[in-house]
Protein backbone atom coordinates (compact mmCIF):
# COMPACT_ATOMS: atom_id res chain seq x y z
CA UNK A 1 0.00 0.00 0.00
CA UNK A 2 1.08 3.56 -0.56
CA UNK A 3 2.49 5.28 2.48
CA UNK A 4 0.79 8.43 3.70
CA UNK A 5 2.67 11.46 4.96
CA UNK A 6 0.70 14.12 6.77
CA UNK A 7 1.58 17.72 6.13
CA UNK A 8 -0.03 20.52 8.11
CA UNK A 9 0.24 23.83 6.35
CA UNK A 10 -1.40 27.22 6.24
CA UNK A 11 -4.47 27.81 4.17
CA UNK A 12 -2.68 30.39 2.05
CA UNK A 13 -0.04 27.88 0.88
CA UNK A 14 -2.71 25.38 -0.10
CA UNK A 15 -4.90 28.03 -1.70
CA UNK A 16 -2.05 29.38 -3.83
CA UNK A 17 -2.19 26.12 -5.80
CA UNK A 18 1.55 25.60 -5.51
CA UNK A 19 1.27 22.32 -3.65
CA UNK A 20 -0.61 20.61 -6.46
CA UNK A 21 2.41 21.29 -8.66
CA UNK A 22 5.08 20.67 -6.09
CA UNK A 23 3.93 17.45 -4.47
CA UNK A 24 3.08 15.02 -7.30
CA UNK A 25 6.72 14.47 -8.46
CA UNK A 26 7.72 13.53 -4.92
CA UNK A 27 4.68 11.30 -4.51
CA UNK A 28 5.50 9.47 -7.73
CA UNK A 29 9.17 8.83 -7.06
CA UNK A 30 8.54 7.73 -3.48
CA UNK A 31 5.29 5.86 -4.09
CA UNK A 32 3.55 7.73 -1.32
CA UNK A 33 0.70 10.13 -0.81
CA UNK A 34 0.93 13.42 1.02
CA UNK A 35 -2.20 14.26 2.99
CA UNK A 36 -2.37 18.04 3.12
CA UNK A 37 -4.22 19.47 6.09
CA UNK A 38 -4.69 23.17 5.50
CA UNK A 39 -5.44 25.13 8.68
CA UNK A 40 -4.44 28.32 10.49
CA UNK A 41 -0.78 28.75 11.46
CA UNK A 42 -1.48 28.30 15.17
CA UNK A 43 -3.48 25.19 14.59
CA UNK A 44 -0.91 23.73 12.21
CA UNK A 45 1.72 24.04 14.90
CA UNK A 46 -0.67 22.57 17.46
CA UNK A 47 -1.20 19.54 15.20
CA UNK A 48 2.56 19.12 15.13
CA UNK A 49 2.80 19.39 18.91
CA UNK A 50 0.19 16.70 19.39
CA UNK A 51 1.87 14.46 16.81
CA UNK A 52 -1.14 14.28 14.55
CA UNK A 53 0.93 15.24 11.51
CA UNK A 54 4.44 14.37 10.37
CA UNK A 55 5.56 17.64 8.81
CA UNK A 56 4.60 21.26 9.37
CA UNK A 57 5.03 24.06 6.82
CA UNK A 58 4.23 27.58 8.06
CA UNK A 59 5.39 31.17 7.91
CA UNK A 60 5.73 32.56 11.44
CA UNK A 61 9.34 32.50 12.42
CA UNK A 62 8.97 33.18 16.15
CA UNK A 63 6.38 30.42 16.54
CA UNK A 64 8.50 28.03 14.54
CA UNK A 65 11.48 28.71 16.77
CA UNK A 66 9.45 28.14 19.87
CA UNK A 67 8.10 24.92 18.40
CA UNK A 68 11.64 23.66 17.92
CA UNK A 69 12.91 25.01 21.24
CA UNK A 70 10.13 23.14 23.05
CA UNK A 71 11.40 19.96 21.42
CA UNK A 72 8.38 19.28 19.24
CA UNK A 73 10.10 19.85 15.94
CA UNK A 74 13.47 19.12 14.41
CA UNK A 75 15.30 19.89 11.22
CA UNK A 76 13.83 23.21 10.09
CA UNK A 77 14.56 24.14 6.49
CA UNK A 78 13.95 27.39 4.66
CA UNK A 79 11.94 26.45 1.62
CA UNK A 80 10.90 29.64 -0.10
CA UNK A 81 9.58 33.09 0.48
CA UNK A 82 7.03 35.44 -0.90
CA UNK A 83 6.11 38.92 0.21
CA UNK A 84 3.35 40.90 1.80
CA UNK A 85 1.67 43.87 0.21
CA UNK A 86 -0.57 46.59 1.60
CA UNK A 87 -3.87 46.78 -0.24
CA UNK A 88 -6.17 49.75 -0.41
CA UNK A 89 -8.99 51.30 -2.42
CA UNK A 90 -8.16 52.85 -5.78
CA UNK A 91 -9.04 56.31 -4.42
CA UNK A 92 -6.43 55.77 -1.69
CA UNK A 93 -8.03 58.21 0.80
CA UNK A 94 -5.07 58.08 3.20
CA UNK A 95 -2.55 58.69 0.44
CA UNK A 96 -0.51 55.61 1.17
CA UNK A 97 0.84 55.50 -2.35
CA UNK A 98 2.83 58.65 -1.62
CA UNK A 99 4.81 56.94 1.12
CA UNK A 100 8.06 55.17 0.31
CA UNK A 101 8.55 52.79 3.20
CA UNK A 102 6.17 50.52 5.01
CA UNK A 103 6.51 52.22 8.40
CA UNK A 104 5.27 55.54 7.08
CA UNK A 105 2.57 53.75 5.07
CA UNK A 106 1.17 52.24 8.24
CA UNK A 107 1.51 55.53 10.10
CA UNK A 108 -0.43 57.38 7.39
CA UNK A 109 -3.29 54.92 7.60
CA UNK A 110 -3.48 55.37 11.35
CA UNK A 111 -3.27 59.16 11.10
CA UNK A 112 -6.18 59.35 8.68
CA UNK A 113 -8.17 56.87 10.69
CA UNK A 114 -8.72 55.12 7.39
CA UNK A 115 -10.50 51.79 7.74
CA UNK A 116 -8.02 48.98 8.20
CA UNK A 117 -9.16 45.38 8.37
CA UNK A 118 -6.88 43.17 10.44
CA UNK A 119 -6.74 39.37 10.32
CA UNK A 120 -6.92 39.47 14.11
CA UNK A 121 -6.32 35.73 14.26
CA UNK A 122 -2.67 35.36 15.36
CA UNK A 123 -1.80 33.99 11.95
CA UNK A 124 1.59 34.57 10.35
CA UNK A 125 0.16 37.54 8.50
CA UNK A 126 -1.37 38.96 11.67
CA UNK A 127 1.94 38.61 13.56
CA UNK A 128 3.66 40.47 10.75
CA UNK A 129 1.00 43.20 10.76
CA UNK A 130 1.53 43.77 14.49
CA UNK A 131 5.25 43.94 13.89
CA UNK A 132 4.68 46.59 11.24
CA UNK A 133 2.50 48.72 13.54
CA UNK A 134 5.26 48.56 16.14
CA UNK A 135 7.78 49.67 13.55
CA UNK A 136 5.49 52.60 12.74
CA UNK A 137 5.09 53.42 16.47
CA UNK A 138 1.33 53.11 16.29
CA UNK A 139 -1.05 51.27 18.59
CA UNK A 140 -4.01 50.60 16.31
CA UNK A 141 -7.27 51.26 18.12
CA UNK A 142 -10.61 52.80 17.36
CA UNK A 143 -13.54 52.47 15.00
CA UNK A 144 -11.33 52.51 11.93
CA UNK A 145 -9.45 49.40 13.02
CA UNK A 146 -11.56 46.29 12.38
CA UNK A 147 -10.30 43.05 13.87
CA UNK A 148 -12.00 40.48 11.69
CA UNK A 149 -10.65 37.17 12.89
CA UNK A 150 -10.92 35.49 9.50
CA UNK A 151 -8.88 34.00 6.69
CA UNK A 152 -6.86 36.12 4.27
CA UNK A 153 -9.23 35.91 1.34
CA UNK A 154 -12.24 36.84 3.46
CA UNK A 155 -10.38 39.79 4.93
CA UNK A 156 -9.49 41.09 1.46
CA UNK A 157 -13.17 40.87 0.51
CA UNK A 158 -14.20 42.65 3.71
CA UNK A 159 -11.67 45.41 3.21
CA UNK A 160 -12.97 45.82 -0.33
CA UNK A 161 -16.56 46.03 0.85
CA UNK A 162 -15.62 48.57 3.51
CA UNK A 163 -13.27 50.46 1.16
CA UNK A 164 -10.44 49.98 3.62
CA UNK A 165 -6.83 48.93 3.74
CA UNK A 166 -5.36 45.60 4.70
CA UNK A 167 -2.15 43.60 4.70
CA UNK A 168 -2.06 40.48 2.54
CA UNK A 169 0.39 38.01 1.15
CA UNK A 170 0.84 38.48 -2.57
CA UNK A 171 -0.39 35.00 -3.47
CA UNK A 172 -3.80 35.39 -1.88
CA UNK A 173 -4.15 38.90 -3.29
CA UNK A 174 -3.52 37.59 -6.80
CA UNK A 175 -6.08 34.86 -6.28
CA UNK A 176 -8.65 37.43 -5.15
CA UNK A 177 -7.72 40.27 -7.47
CA UNK A 178 -10.74 39.58 -9.66
CA UNK A 179 -13.06 39.67 -6.66
CA UNK A 180 -12.10 42.96 -5.14
CA UNK A 181 -11.47 46.51 -6.24
CA UNK A 182 -8.48 46.83 -3.91
CA UNK A 183 -5.11 47.62 -5.42
CA UNK A 184 -1.59 47.34 -4.06
CA UNK A 185 -0.71 50.64 -2.41
CA UNK A 186 2.59 49.67 -0.81
CA UNK A 187 5.06 46.89 -1.56
CA UNK A 188 8.71 45.98 -1.80
CA UNK A 189 9.94 46.99 1.66
CA UNK A 190 12.35 44.47 3.09
CA UNK A 191 10.15 44.17 6.17
CA UNK A 192 7.46 42.63 3.95
CA UNK A 193 9.64 39.61 3.24
CA UNK A 194 7.76 36.38 4.17
CA UNK A 195 9.79 33.19 4.54
CA UNK A 196 8.22 29.74 4.69
CA UNK A 197 9.84 27.07 6.81
CA UNK A 198 9.27 23.35 6.88
CA UNK A 199 9.80 21.38 10.08
CA UNK A 200 9.67 17.68 10.80
CA UNK A 201 7.82 16.60 13.92
CA UNK A 202 10.27 15.20 16.45
CA UNK A 203 10.23 11.39 16.13
CA UNK A 204 11.70 11.07 19.63
CA UNK A 205 8.61 12.74 21.02
CA UNK A 206 6.20 11.02 18.67
CA UNK A 207 7.54 7.58 17.67
CA UNK A 208 4.82 7.02 15.06
CA UNK A 209 6.14 9.92 12.97
CA UNK A 210 7.30 8.64 9.60
CA UNK A 211 10.76 10.19 9.97
CA UNK A 212 12.25 8.24 7.09
CA UNK A 213 9.78 9.58 4.56
CA UNK A 214 9.57 12.98 6.22
CA UNK A 215 13.31 13.41 5.93
CA UNK A 216 13.18 12.53 2.25
CA UNK A 217 10.38 15.04 1.81
CA UNK A 218 12.39 17.79 3.51
CA UNK A 219 15.36 17.00 1.32
CA UNK A 220 13.13 17.10 -1.71
CA UNK A 221 11.75 20.54 -0.82
CA UNK A 222 15.23 22.06 -0.85
CA UNK A 223 16.36 20.09 -3.90
CA UNK A 224 17.02 21.74 -7.25
CA UNK A 225 14.00 20.00 -8.72
CA UNK A 226 11.72 21.59 -6.12
CA UNK A 227 13.39 24.96 -6.51
CA UNK A 228 12.73 24.86 -10.22
CA UNK A 229 9.09 24.00 -9.62
CA UNK A 230 8.66 26.80 -7.07
CA UNK A 231 10.25 29.52 -9.11
CA UNK A 232 8.51 28.28 -12.21
CA UNK A 233 5.05 28.44 -10.63
CA UNK A 234 2.90 31.22 -12.09
CA UNK A 235 -0.49 32.49 -11.32
CA UNK A 236 -2.11 35.00 -13.68
CA UNK A 237 1.33 35.25 -15.19
CA UNK A 238 2.94 36.34 -11.93
CA UNK A 239 5.53 34.50 -9.92
CA UNK A 240 4.35 33.94 -6.36
CA UNK A 241 7.25 32.31 -4.58
CA UNK A 242 10.98 32.75 -4.61
CA UNK A 243 13.84 30.67 -3.26
CA UNK A 244 17.00 31.94 -1.61
Amino acid sequence: ATEHLRLATTTSTENSGLLSVLLPPFEQTNNCQIDVIAVGTGKAIKLGESGDVDVVMVHARSKEDKFIADGYGVDRRDVMYNDFVVLGPVSDPAGVKQTTDIASAMATIAQHHATFVSRGDDSGTHSREKQLWRAAHVTPDGDWYLEAGRGMGEVIIMAGERKGYTLSDRGTYLAFSGKTELKIVSQGDSQLFNPYGVIMVNPLKHPHVKDELAKRFLNFLVSDQAKALITGYRRNGEQLFYVQ
Partner: protein, 228 residues
Protein backbone atom coordinates in the same frame (compact mmCIF):
# COMPACT_ATOMS: atom_id res chain seq x y z
CA UNK B 1 -6.74 15.22 26.25
CA UNK B 2 -5.25 17.58 28.79
CA UNK B 3 -6.86 20.48 27.11
CA UNK B 4 -10.33 19.12 27.88
CA UNK B 5 -9.70 19.53 31.59
CA UNK B 6 -7.85 22.76 31.05
CA UNK B 7 -10.75 24.10 29.05
CA UNK B 8 -13.28 23.26 31.74
CA UNK B 9 -11.19 25.26 34.20
CA UNK B 10 -10.86 28.05 31.68
CA UNK B 11 -14.61 28.00 31.06
CA UNK B 12 -15.36 28.37 34.73
CA UNK B 13 -12.93 31.23 34.98
CA UNK B 14 -14.46 32.83 31.91
CA UNK B 15 -17.96 32.55 33.27
CA UNK B 16 -16.99 34.05 36.59
CA UNK B 17 -14.76 36.77 35.20
CA UNK B 18 -17.35 37.48 32.50
CA UNK B 19 -15.25 40.24 31.04
CA UNK B 20 -16.58 42.78 28.61
CA UNK B 21 -15.47 40.98 25.47
CA UNK B 22 -17.25 37.81 26.50
CA UNK B 23 -20.36 39.75 27.51
CA UNK B 24 -20.44 41.43 24.16
CA UNK B 25 -20.01 38.18 22.29
CA UNK B 26 -22.71 36.39 24.31
CA UNK B 27 -25.07 39.30 23.79
CA UNK B 28 -24.50 39.38 20.02
CA UNK B 29 -25.15 35.64 19.77
CA UNK B 30 -28.29 35.88 21.84
CA UNK B 31 -29.95 38.81 20.21
CA UNK B 32 -29.25 37.76 16.64
CA UNK B 33 -30.58 34.27 17.45
CA UNK B 34 -33.68 35.64 19.11
CA UNK B 35 -34.50 38.00 16.28
CA UNK B 36 -33.86 35.27 13.74
CA UNK B 37 -36.05 32.76 15.54
CA UNK B 38 -38.88 35.24 16.06
CA UNK B 39 -38.90 36.11 12.35
CA UNK B 40 -38.42 32.56 11.25
CA UNK B 41 -41.21 31.18 13.44
CA UNK B 42 -43.61 33.83 12.15
CA UNK B 43 -42.84 32.59 8.68
CA UNK B 44 -42.40 28.89 9.25
CA UNK B 45 -45.25 27.97 11.58
CA UNK B 46 -47.97 29.01 9.12
CA UNK B 47 -46.11 27.28 6.30
CA UNK B 48 -45.89 24.05 8.31
CA UNK B 49 -49.55 24.20 9.31
CA UNK B 50 -50.71 24.98 5.78
CA UNK B 51 -48.65 22.14 4.30
CA UNK B 52 -49.93 19.79 6.97
CA UNK B 53 -53.58 20.59 6.45
CA UNK B 54 -54.09 21.25 2.77
CA UNK B 55 -54.05 18.78 -0.04
CA UNK B 56 -52.89 19.97 -3.43
CA UNK B 57 -51.06 18.67 -6.44
CA UNK B 58 -47.34 18.78 -5.92
CA UNK B 59 -47.62 18.86 -2.14
CA UNK B 60 -45.16 16.00 -1.69
CA UNK B 61 -42.72 17.79 -3.98
CA UNK B 62 -42.94 20.96 -1.90
CA UNK B 63 -42.35 18.92 1.24
CA UNK B 64 -39.37 17.16 -0.31
CA UNK B 65 -37.90 20.51 -1.31
CA UNK B 66 -38.39 21.77 2.23
CA UNK B 67 -36.68 18.63 3.53
CA UNK B 68 -33.82 19.26 1.15
CA UNK B 69 -33.41 22.81 2.39
CA UNK B 70 -32.53 21.37 5.78
CA UNK B 71 -29.30 20.21 4.15
CA UNK B 72 -28.38 23.78 3.15
CA UNK B 73 -24.80 24.23 4.28
CA UNK B 74 -24.20 27.46 6.15
CA UNK B 75 -21.44 28.36 3.70
CA UNK B 76 -23.87 28.21 0.80
CA UNK B 77 -26.40 30.42 2.58
CA UNK B 78 -23.53 32.73 3.37
CA UNK B 79 -22.40 32.84 -0.23
CA UNK B 80 -25.83 33.55 -1.67
CA UNK B 81 -26.73 36.26 0.82
CA UNK B 82 -23.26 37.69 0.45
CA UNK B 83 -24.09 38.06 -3.23
CA UNK B 84 -27.25 39.95 -2.30
CA UNK B 85 -25.77 42.21 0.35
CA UNK B 86 -22.36 42.97 -1.18
CA UNK B 87 -21.75 46.36 -2.78
CA UNK B 88 -22.12 44.81 -6.20
CA UNK B 89 -25.32 43.05 -5.21
CA UNK B 90 -28.93 44.23 -5.60
CA UNK B 91 -29.20 45.22 -1.91
CA UNK B 92 -25.66 46.59 -1.81
CA UNK B 93 -26.50 50.21 -1.14
CA UNK B 94 -28.28 49.33 2.09
CA UNK B 95 -24.84 48.62 3.50
CA UNK B 96 -26.03 45.63 5.48
CA UNK B 97 -23.07 43.34 4.92
CA UNK B 98 -21.04 42.69 8.07
CA UNK B 99 -23.85 43.91 10.31
CA UNK B 100 -26.05 41.89 12.64
CA UNK B 101 -28.95 42.35 10.23
CA UNK B 102 -27.16 40.33 7.56
CA UNK B 103 -26.45 37.61 10.10
CA UNK B 104 -30.09 37.53 11.15
CA UNK B 105 -31.16 37.21 7.53
CA UNK B 106 -28.87 34.22 7.07
CA UNK B 107 -30.06 32.59 10.24
CA UNK B 108 -33.69 33.03 9.20
CA UNK B 109 -32.87 31.14 6.00
CA UNK B 110 -31.29 28.35 8.04
CA UNK B 111 -34.02 28.06 10.66
CA UNK B 112 -37.11 28.35 8.48
CA UNK B 113 -36.95 24.91 6.82
CA UNK B 114 -36.19 23.29 10.17
CA UNK B 115 -39.10 24.92 11.97
CA UNK B 116 -41.58 24.34 9.16
CA UNK B 117 -40.62 20.70 8.81
CA UNK B 118 -40.99 20.17 12.53
CA UNK B 119 -44.37 21.87 12.60
CA UNK B 120 -45.44 19.93 9.53
CA UNK B 121 -44.60 16.66 11.27
CA UNK B 122 -46.53 17.77 14.34
CA UNK B 123 -49.58 18.68 12.24
CA UNK B 124 -49.47 15.41 10.32
CA UNK B 125 -49.28 13.52 13.60
CA UNK B 126 -52.06 15.44 15.33
CA UNK B 127 -55.67 14.50 15.89
CA UNK B 128 -57.68 15.03 12.72
CA UNK B 129 -60.74 16.19 14.68
CA UNK B 130 -59.21 19.41 16.02
CA UNK B 131 -60.11 21.72 13.15
CA UNK B 132 -63.69 20.45 12.78
CA UNK B 133 -64.28 20.69 16.52
CA UNK B 134 -63.14 24.29 16.56
CA UNK B 135 -65.22 25.15 13.49
CA UNK B 136 -68.40 23.63 14.81
CA UNK B 137 -67.96 25.55 18.06
CA UNK B 138 -68.00 28.71 15.96
CA UNK B 139 -64.38 29.46 15.15
CA UNK B 140 -63.36 31.14 11.92
CA UNK B 141 -60.90 29.08 9.85
CA UNK B 142 -58.10 31.30 11.16
CA UNK B 143 -59.18 30.80 14.77
CA UNK B 144 -59.43 27.06 14.14
CA UNK B 145 -55.85 27.03 12.87
CA UNK B 146 -54.68 28.99 15.88
CA UNK B 147 -56.41 26.46 18.11
CA UNK B 148 -54.66 23.68 16.21
CA UNK B 149 -51.32 25.35 16.90
CA UNK B 150 -52.25 25.56 20.57
CA UNK B 151 -53.13 21.87 20.60
CA UNK B 152 -49.77 20.92 19.11
CA UNK B 153 -47.85 23.46 21.17
CA UNK B 154 -45.44 20.81 22.37
CA UNK B 155 -44.42 20.18 18.78
CA UNK B 156 -44.25 23.87 17.96
CA UNK B 157 -42.07 24.51 20.99
CA UNK B 158 -39.82 21.62 20.00
CA UNK B 159 -39.58 23.18 16.55
CA UNK B 160 -38.57 26.52 17.99
CA UNK B 161 -36.02 24.90 20.29
CA UNK B 162 -34.54 22.99 17.36
CA UNK B 163 -34.37 26.15 15.28
CA UNK B 164 -32.81 28.08 18.13
CA UNK B 165 -30.19 25.37 18.63
CA UNK B 166 -29.40 25.49 14.95
CA UNK B 167 -28.84 29.24 14.76
CA UNK B 168 -27.07 29.82 18.03
CA UNK B 169 -24.69 26.97 17.28
CA UNK B 170 -23.98 27.72 13.63
CA UNK B 171 -20.84 29.46 12.53
CA UNK B 172 -20.79 29.74 8.72
CA UNK B 173 -23.45 32.40 8.27
CA UNK B 174 -22.29 34.41 11.25
CA UNK B 175 -18.77 34.30 9.88
CA UNK B 176 -19.49 35.14 6.25
CA UNK B 177 -22.24 37.71 6.70
CA UNK B 178 -21.20 39.11 10.06
CA UNK B 179 -17.48 39.04 9.44
CA UNK B 180 -16.48 38.11 13.00
CA UNK B 181 -15.62 41.74 13.73
CA UNK B 182 -14.49 42.26 17.29
CA UNK B 183 -16.91 44.34 19.38
CA UNK B 184 -19.48 44.25 16.63
CA UNK B 185 -20.45 41.02 14.90
CA UNK B 186 -18.35 38.50 16.78
CA UNK B 187 -20.57 35.76 18.17
CA UNK B 188 -19.77 32.87 20.47
CA UNK B 189 -19.38 30.50 17.54
CA UNK B 190 -17.18 32.75 15.43
CA UNK B 191 -15.06 33.42 18.50
CA UNK B 192 -14.70 29.67 19.02
CA UNK B 193 -13.73 29.19 15.38
CA UNK B 194 -11.18 31.98 15.70
CA UNK B 195 -9.60 30.57 18.85
CA UNK B 196 -9.49 27.13 17.27
CA UNK B 197 -7.73 28.41 14.18
CA UNK B 198 -5.21 30.07 16.47
CA UNK B 199 -4.59 26.69 18.07
CA UNK B 200 -6.09 27.96 21.34
CA UNK B 201 -8.13 24.79 21.72
CA UNK B 202 -8.70 25.13 25.45
CA UNK B 203 -10.00 28.65 25.16
CA UNK B 204 -12.18 27.68 22.20
CA UNK B 205 -13.66 24.83 24.15
CA UNK B 206 -14.18 27.05 27.16
CA UNK B 207 -16.21 29.39 24.97
CA UNK B 208 -18.11 26.33 23.76
CA UNK B 209 -19.01 25.51 27.34
CA UNK B 210 -20.18 29.09 27.83
CA UNK B 211 -22.33 28.74 24.71
CA UNK B 212 -23.91 25.54 25.93
CA UNK B 213 -24.60 27.09 29.32
CA UNK B 214 -26.34 30.01 27.65
CA UNK B 215 -28.35 27.62 25.46
CA UNK B 216 -29.25 25.63 28.56
CA UNK B 217 -30.63 28.72 30.26
CA UNK B 218 -32.64 29.67 27.21
CA UNK B 219 -34.06 26.16 27.01
CA UNK B 220 -34.92 26.09 30.69
CA UNK B 221 -36.76 29.33 30.13
CA UNK B 222 -38.63 28.01 27.07
CA UNK B 223 -39.48 24.92 29.08
CA UNK B 224 -41.00 27.01 31.83
CA UNK B 225 -42.98 28.95 29.24
CA UNK B 226 -44.33 25.72 27.86
CA UNK B 227 -45.38 24.30 31.19
CA UNK B 228 -47.20 27.43 32.14
Amino acid sequence: MDYLLESIRAAIELIFAFDQDIQRVVWTSLYTSFCAIALSATLAVPVGVALGLTQFRGRRIVITLLNTLMALPTVVVGLVLFGLFSRQGPLGNLGLLFTPIAMIAGQVVLATPIISNYVLAAVEGCDSRIINTALTLGATPLQANIQLIKEIRFGVMAAIIAGFGRVIGEVGVAMMLGGNIRNSTRTMTTAIALETSKGEFAFGLALGIVLLSVALFVNLFLNLLQQR
